[in-house]
Symmetry: C2
């Protein structure tokens, strides 16, 4: 049976971290919001789940995954659940908590990226919080992004199994998420990320390795990969970008 992935239509957003894992594994899945309403799919079907007054443990927000009876919410949680089934989990059981810890640090930086353009109110227009967005973006570019990226680079280069993958000697979902993080940061902040390949050579090599994997390359070239745009988490507002020392 297919997995059902629920996420907003028309953007990559947080759903993309789950999509990349499903695509790499060649798993069968339905992207519910993008399906036809006549087939019981579409954004309405997602909203029905979110606003249900009867489903126990309906999720707080997208993305969420339906696998038979189970509904699982939050990117890191979905990936931790899926990874063993998709062959994308670390081989040692204990390493799964290492993977989840790394993934939650990715969750954190992704949330901070969101707040660069929405530092005051998620539900209000960007234009109404532009000044705060500029201040927050300056801090993100100057302090937070280097802290996170330096951390991931350092973890990668210290992997006792070599720096091809972030954990162990096989591809995991965390590698796929790091690829997406770098893609997103480069899109949102082309000036601030200009020196990424020099500063974070191991992460850059990991990014390029993921991009070349056959299933990922095929997915990126497909219509299923919606380009980055101004509705997603990673948005390019030139006034929020800046050169770094």
């Amino acid at each position: 049976m297919s997995y059902k992935l629920y996420y907003w239509d028309g953007l990559q957003g947080r759903g993309e971290f789950v999509r990349l894992a499903l695509e790499e594994a060649g798993a069968a899945y339905v992207d519910v919001s993008r399906g036809p309403e006549t087939g019981g799919l579409g954004t309405g079907a997602m909203l029905d789940m979110l606003h249900s007054k009867t489903i126990p443990y309906a999720p707080f927000a997208p993305p969420f995954l339906e696998d038979g009876e189970l509904i699982i919410s939050h990117v890191a949680n979905i990936l931790m659940y899926l990874a063993p089934k998709l062959g994308l989990a670390p081989q040692q059981e204990a390493s799964r908590f290492i993977a989840n810890g790394l993934q939650l640090s990715i969750t954190d930086i992704v949330s901070e990226v969101h707040d660069t353009h929405h530092p005051i109110a998620a539900s209000d227009y960007y234009e109404n919080q532009k000044d705060a967005a500029k201040a927050r973006s300056a801090d993100f570019i100057g302090e937070r992004m280097p802290k996170f990226m330096g951390y991931f680079e350092s973890v990668l280069t210290r992997n006792p199994h070599g720096d091809r993958y972030i954990i162990g000697s096989t591809l995991t979902y965390v590698d796929l998420s790091l690829f997406q993080l770098i893609e997103g940061l480069r899109y949102a902040f082309p000036r601030a990320t200009k020196h990424f390949s020099k500063r974070y050579p191991a992460l850059t090599a990991l990014h390029d390795m993921v991009r070349m994997r056959p299933n990922i390359a095929r997915y990126l070239a497909s219509e299923r990969r919606i380009p980055f745009n101004q509705s997603g988490i990673f948005r390019h507002y030139p006034e929020l970008d800046q050169d770094v020392r």
Copy 2:
């Protein structure tokens, strides 16, 4: 052997969600930063771990837990790891992903609480971002807090096993975290939370039930429970609080 919990000294902060689980279970643990430097403990011991250039998978930030060879970071991840050992996990295996999903929604609101007083830069003084903090707090109180709390109340009242616990018919770590969330919100926003018990009666009953559990009551009365203060996640700045409709 004792668990070692690493978190900043002098505040409850994110570490408190882990402490409550350890305390409820009566587990042996060392609160590393609060220990004496002469015993190899203290904040320095924590910073050594964080800044280590040799430990694989050193954490990005506190809290983290050391259990033998394993170092586990992020509150939700630590709790997911500990819960089965402490007897605080849901009884069904699949429900552990439900628990983790709920815990990650708690992580999200806790992060938003942090940003009410630090909406621009985590490393800068509150006083330097007070205007943005007021705007963000107004949105938090008016939009986000009711959305999260309404969600948790609705999940609790829909529990097929009754509304005593958030999952199933036994206490889990998520119940303890909900208690802490309510405690913190009441401390930070006494005006905005004045009607909590009327609006969220099931959550309030859950909060009171947790507070009365013998091990929790003993912990709360002990010196190990540091009072809320202006260094933690939940801070009381009267200018950020307001009455709600």
